[in-house]
Symmetry: C2
Subunit: 351 residues, 2 copies
Amino acid sequence: MAKRKAVSIKDVARESGSSLTTVSLVLNKRDRRISEATRDRVLQTVQRLGYRPSRLAQGLQSQRTYFLAILVPQLRHAFADAYFGEIISAIHDHARSAGYKVLLEVADEDFLGTRQHLELFDRHFVDGILCLGVTNRDDYLSDFERHDTEQAARPRPVIIVNNYLPGHRFNFVRCDYHEAGRMACEYLLELGHRAIALIHGAAEVQTTHDFRAGIEEALARAGLKLTPQRIEDGFYTEEGGAEAAAKLLKRDRAITAIIAGNDKMAIGAISNLKESGLRVPADVSVVGCDDMHQAAFCDPPLTTIHTPIYEMGERACDRLLDLIEGKVASVEETHPVTMCVRKSASAPRTE
Amino acid sequence: MAKRKAVSIKDVARESGSSLTTVSLVLNKRDRRISEATRDRVLQTVQRLGYRPSRLAQGLQSQRTYFLAILVPQLRHAFADAYFGEIISAIHDHARSAGYKVLLEVADEDFLGTRQHLELFDRHFVDGILCLGVTNRDDYLSDFERHDTEQAARPRPVIIVNNYLPGHRFNFVRCDYHEAGRMACEYLLELGHRAIALIHGAAEVQTTHDFRAGIEEALARAGLKLTPQRIEDGFYTEEGGAEAAAKLLKRDRAITAIIAGNDKMAIGAISNLKESGLRVPADVSVVGCDDMHQAAFCDPPLTTIHTPIYEMGERACDRLLDLIEGKVASVEETHPVTMCVRKSASAPRTE
DNA sequence: CTGAAAGCGCTAACAC
DNA sequence: GTGTTAGCGCTTTCAG
């Protein structure tokens, strides 16, 4: 079995009785007024031979790959996570419609240790990178900025998706978690709640702090404070949310409402509350954040803050392409969130 | 801002005072007995300049890309699905350790319609493809076999992950769903169940039929039959499982056990049974299939068939590499499954 | 309107 | 031991 010899532009030239240049010109629609006749002849030959230009050769020539990398953090099966999954879908869809392919990478110790994040650019694997699930400790991001030679170099196209790093000038597209926290809290305050607790996500994620600050701001306006005993870490997981809820209520039975930093923790919390014989929302109201698909289907349907995750992914991808094409020099976008009222929050019990 | 001019092998040659060949030889460890001295000199220059070979150029030369594509079906956010997510993780991990990068593609109408699945090979995007979530209607798979020229051509390296297509000679690595069905059913029979129902997955997926056949075989041995009214389609989703369970029990209150084609449907079924006031397993036993992460954490913890999903992904990736490297001509592997007993199945109620 | 030829960065025969 | 050279498949001046 001989290895199939791919048909190259040469074959097309020979078969169509024209030159390499002509074929290339026709294919790339360079308007150098190729005659209709030659054009058709070439196109037909291309068709007949099933010729497809090699992107390796094209890339070598153009110094562009039309590949994007998605960098996800190392979690237990990050790809099986609904939050990341939705963003990845969004990026993939948008990238494809723009003619780009998408590469998957996990930014684990091995990957970063061997500096593969830099190889991605230096060895011409990709034209740009989208970073998901970034934390404040991800200093590999600075590597992308550093100029490796003394020559003035354009920064590499890299963008952080739905997060940011304060104090740095990394590009990002995110939604407003400060506003999200504020909205969730104000909603509960309006319902009449005074004893509001927070289950927040991982502390090394910046938006965790924004979310909390938003809540504190709303509470402060109402003359209230978020005391340490009304705060627990739920690590962004369902299990974490469940445990946090348990601790919170054991410590302070007066709590009538819980805000969770994401829907998973909210769902975990609800399941724990129900197990403990508490009714949601009759006894304790719960508000989530993100508005994932499942938020509408749990029991009770989750009242949550809608953060446009999918649109974030699309938008980030789009702006990255702008960065790549040099249309913009930097990207710092913060998008609004909206309240999504379902059934998991109501007026507090009256004791 | 000048675009950073990547350092090439030429620069290394010049700076180290040797020729292109020497540098290439050193880097590729072709043992043509380069003297220690030159070797060190070259290596140091490489280090100093931060030289990294362009894989575009290497690829053009070697006609290899060291990329693999993962083809997933078009579902609502396929990447957010735990089942696919776990396989994708497995493939990514294994591919990376073998020096391959992983590309993501969704096999939707647009993709297949524009024959991008063939471009993947023809335009040198990838060296091989892994197909997930394959159904009996996916005739695009045959395209990979067809020789586009009259010359003898090696079939393109493509492998189906955790499924297969009977009547075709496509490569696959899967686990034994016939056995899975048999095991689940026999387990219930041993517990004393006689009225066993099935919630199966999508009918266009081959393993759905295998699973059912396994169940029927076990029932037949016990002198029982799976009547049409004890079968429902749950479409592999939680919602589908819930609805199927409702229909099943409305139609036939005698049912004491339900087998579901995957864990999601089992979980959906359980939630519906509980809502209807039935206890699991006291009133109705439920057995799932797959043993996903969440199977251990639901209430009651799910008794299920453990299908080694992650290992399937790894194995499929490994065999695909064999195919690419010509070590094997075809792959048809079926792996065993095991029973995973938790709490969702018990002896039937005695009426 | 079309073709010859250089070059993208790398590898590997084939000299020397 | 090391260097020269011819491609890999394509794009793009620059001549004609």
